[in-house]
Symmetry: none
Subunit: 142 residues, 2 copies
DNA sequence: CTTGAAATCATCCTTTCGGGTGAAGGCTTT
DNA sequence: AAAGCCTTCACCCGAAAGGATGATTTCAAG
């Protein structure tokens, strides 16, 4: 923010200087008024465009609550992912550990590990973070 | 786009008309040159701001391929996440292991581990999958 | 009834993660 | 100069994850 103010201040200073110089030229060398005006107009138009550019840049806080998720059943079938595996995948994507998923689904840790292993094979990945990524790309999960 | 051009053209026409009127007043009523200049400057600054606004906010007609992700710098600052940590976060979200990230950034595995640990503290999570999730919610990463 | 897929659980072993702690060098601010 | 943050790296330890393999049960389809 400080930077912007500095740049703006500097620009203004330069502009004022230019204007004064042009004003001098105007009276000294009898330049056409139109030329003088054109230069001023262009300069301030440029300044305005720049200012508008800065002003319209939101710089943050855009929260999107898109709920437009269409479940891709074809991909599921194509990859041969079973219902249970898909369930595990969903919990995995929510950041749960294998143990926590096991507790959620009332099965043993080993079972979840088996499911995750199979998932990794079917999704052709080797880590859960990659699995989540790929699953989202394929619209297997929201 | 045609609309914008039309409006811009119309505005220019009006401005020119105004200028000519002012020019007449200038010579006829002996207004101060400074006043004349100030009016011109303000007008064109306003025009520029409007143009900049239009240019940066196409509002529709532009085909945007990339996802509408607006980087949330405020959250980053609020959470006190450094540039390097954010960088690690990005690679983490792409499914890379700590070792792979270390290779990408040309630092040691230990360094990456330090960054991830700090990230987990700052994001108030305990697993990388959760960190990725939270970072996405906060628009820290696409 | 047999076959096969799905779901369940297990064991063994290796790699990766996560947590804790410490520390050195660089850069900025006070 | 001193304080503070960032970045870098190190070591240790336990927990979690991943890979390989095998086994049992259930259930639907051939």
């Amino acid at each position: 923010m400080k930077k912007i103010i500095l740049i703006y201040g500097a620009s203004l200073a330069v502009l004022v200087f230019l204007l004064k110089y042009l004003e001098y030229q105007f009276f000294a060398k009898d330049l056409a008024l139109e030329f003088y005006l054109a230069v001023i107009a262009m300069l301030f138009t440029g300044l305005g465009i720049w200012a508008g550019f800065r002003l319209t840049r939101p710089k943050g806080v855009v929260i999107k609550m898109s709920a437009d998720f269409v479940f891709n059943e074809r991909e599921l079938e194509r990859l041969g992912i079973s219902k249970r595996e898909h369930e595990v995948l969903e919990w995995m994507a929510k950041g749960l550990s294998n143990q926590e998923i096991a507790d959620k689904l009332f099965v043993s840790l080993n079972t979840v590990k088996t499911h995750t292993s199979n998932l990794f094979l079917k999704l052709e990945v080797s880590r859960r973070t990659q699995a989540i990524q790929k699953a989202k790309e394929l619209s297997l999960i929201p």
